[in-house]
Structures are given as C-alpha cells and as structure tokens.
Amino acid sequence: MEFFIANTVSGLAYAMLLFLMAAGLSIIFGLMKIMNLAHGSFFILAGYVAYTFSRSGMNFWLSMVLAVIVISIFALIIEKLFISRVHGSETDQVLLTVGLVFVLGDLALWIWGGNFLSIPVPAIFDFSLDFAGMTFPAYRLFVIAMGILFAFVLWYFEAKTRVGMIVRAGVDDMEMVSALGFNVKIIFSGVFIFGAALAAFGGVLSGPILGMYPMMEWEILVNSMIVVIIGGLGSWKGAFIASMIVGFVDIFGRIYMPTFAMAFIFILMVAILMVKPTGLFGRVES
C-alpha cells in the first residue's frame, strides 16, 4: 500500500507536468489549428535557461520567472517569424515545427552540452513530509498543487473572463470572431505566447524532478500529444484528465512492466479512440 501511495504521488507530479505542457499544446491547436511540434522545445529550453540563471546565483523563483519571460518572448518571435506563415497548411506546420525542434535541440546541445543537467530543488521545499509512516518529497507535492492551481486558473480564465469567452468562441469559429471586430492576429499571438509560457513554467518545475538532457523534448512531446489526443483537441479539461491517466499508466507501467510501459500508453490511447474518436472532451468539427 505504501509503495502504491508513494508512486501515486510521483505519478500525479508527472501528470501535472504533462498537463502544463499539453494544455498549451491543446489550446493552440484548438484555436489556431496549428500543431506545434516544437512545443516540447519550449518546455526543455525553459529548464535550461532557468538552470543557467540558477547557476549564476539567482534563486529558483527568480530563475523561473525570468525563464518563463525569456521563452514567452522567444515564442512570440517564433510565431511572428515562422508560425504565422503556415496557417492552413498542416504539412508545412509539421515540416516547420519538426525543423525547429532539430535546430533548437542542436542549439541546446551546443550551449549546455550533452550531459544530464538538473535544477536544484528550491530550499523552501527541500525536505520530506512524513505522514502515516510514509515519506513524501515536499517538492513533488508542490508540483501537484501547482498543476491543480493552474487547472483552476485556466477554468476561471476560460469560464469567467471576456478574453476566455473570445477564445472559446474562436475555437468554434475564428472567422466569425474576426467578423465581430476582434483582431485574429493579436488573439493568435496571445494564445501562442500563453501556451508557450505554460510549457515553460512546466519545464522549469520539472527541472528538479526530470532534469534536462538531449532529445528530452521528443519524449515529453510524444506523451503530451497522447494526452492531447486522449483528452480531445482544443480542450484543457481533457488535457487535465488525460494527463493524469497517462501519468499513472506511465509511472506504474515503468514499475511493473518497464519494457511495455510506452506500449501501454499507446494501447490506452487506441482503446479510448475506439470508444470516443474525438477524445474524452473533444468535439466533432461542424
């Protein structure tokens, strides 16, 4: 039982990191119809940037804020220079964003090298909690809390704000939103930056747990895409539920049948799509 609970906490922490990554990916796809395969690069680059800041003597929190800002600005440049040119062409989007993954991966390799790097756990959470005879790393509990907090923030933003209302309408019919007088380019840029900032936040949070290493962007991207597909394209709620499913299957699969851990996730995805082809919270395009 203790073993199960301890790994449940690890699974939840991993699930929340996946959620932060997948929520942005899903919202960007839902609104902009852009499949941004470079989203994983934002995640890992944020970890590297925060690592550099923390190595220069900054504390974890300042490093995190600065890394998120740097990646958000970087995402804006990527959106304006490249992404905005491939709207409406899925092939171009895939070729462009896969190319970006390779370029950014090599850039990271050049700057930070090929070794495993990790961000130190912030001092305030560098301890363990003992409860009912079990030990829980405080930082993992903090990551879980952050994931839940951001799920609440996303819910509030989507359901209770005018911007959220415009984004929901945009997922339904962006052309009509434009015909009501809203500037589509600004909405697209805003959502792209927001999604990248979420991924960057997740990337820094994951630094003390998963670390950073070459090709990590592909691993996190594949799992995030499975989350997006299971949850339903364009739905952050779907991303939240699906990230927990994938997080648990991944963690417990690695423990009990490590050779088949990845296969379990794909089998799960296929099974869900057979029952609900649009994913758990996805909608059929009208």
């Binding site: 309408a169 339904d172 019919d173 009509m176 434009s178 015909a179 009501l180 007088g181």
Partner: protein, 233 residues
Amino acid sequence: MIELKEVHSYYGHSHILHGVNLKVNKGQCVALLGRNGAGKTTTIHSIAGLVVPKEGAIAFKDKELIGKTPNHISKAGVGLVPQGRRVFSSLTVKENLLIAERKSTSSEKQWTIEEIYQLFPILKEREENMGNELSGGQQQMLAIGRALLLNPDFLLMDEPSEGLAPVIIEQIKNIILDVKKTGLSMLIVEQNIDLACCVADEVIILNKGEVVWQGLPNELLHNEELLKVHLGV
C-alpha cells in the same frame, strides 16, 4: 452608404463575381436574389472582408473596404448575419450576445441586450442554454441579435430564412421590418422571394456573378419571365 463598383472576386482559381455593381443608400433595404451559385454569398463575403476581391472598389461611408480585414470592416460599422447562423456553440445565448456588444459613435440606434431580449423574448428565456441547444429559428434570432449588438450602420444578412419553418419565417420577416424601421441600412441575400420582396425597397438579381436586373419588388413580382428565367419560379 455603400457602393460596389466592378467587383471581381474569386474562390481559389474560380472566378465568382464578374464586375458586380450595386449601391445601398442610407436607410435603404436592398434584397439580393439569384439561383444557387449566382454569387450572392460571395458578394456578402466580399463586403465583409471574408473574401478579398481582386479588382473593383467597395466604398463604405466614403472609405475603401477592399484590403481591410474582417475585424476592421466590422469596426467600420458593417454587421453580418451569416449564412447558416454560425452561432458559437461553446457559448451560452447570453455570452453569444455579450461577445458582440459594442457601442457605436455613428449608429443612430444603440441596441442593448435588454432591447434584443424584448425583440426576441425566447432568447431571454434560454439565455443560459448553449448556442447549439437552440432550434434553427432561435439560432437565427440569436445571429440577428448578435449582429445588431455591434450597433452597425449597415447590416448584411445572408439567407435569414434558410431552413426555417413558414411560421418562423413570418416571425423573422416581421423582425426584419422592425429593424428596418430603426433606419438601419441592409443588404439581404435571400432565396425566399416573397420575404425579400416584402422587406426590400429595391431588388437586385445576380446571375453567374453579374447583376442582371435591378428594380422595385412589385416590378419583379409582376414580371413572370424574369422570375422564370433568373429565379426558376
């Protein structure tokens, strides 16, 4: 109010509008009729900026609209009730109206959500329902209400009676007449000739992307050959 001069529009390589000329004066309601594929919706889309004409000019309040994005055209004072309603299914009825609510400095009539609810009481009753939970007629009312809340100077309506039951069409007709009384200029694309001739001050017939006839509704209704040749009646 608005004038199209020699407008040529394309969908990809298909040449749809072949030099359309039309004019809608302030406070006037013009109906655009024609068979399927005549270019009626393309004309509406060309004005709203959803299709960018390759040639010609569209002057609205003495400003050129061609080249402007749909949001700029909307802010300039052009409202759109699109074909197929296109209400936002993820938004409630109230949110569908709130998203459009905008004050206008030039429009004489300033619509509010309460006035829209007075015009369409059913929308008030169903304000917490999602957009896709409404019937076709209710969605049409919502689409009209949403466009009116932009407080436009000029309203484009694309087939407001499409797919509706006769009793609902009668309601929509009365609503258009009520809106017309406020002095709002309108261009209405319709397949329903009776509705179009009832609400319009002037009728224009399009055929293969060209204006082939223009006149008063009564002249059209009494011209059997015109009805037969261009509208298949």
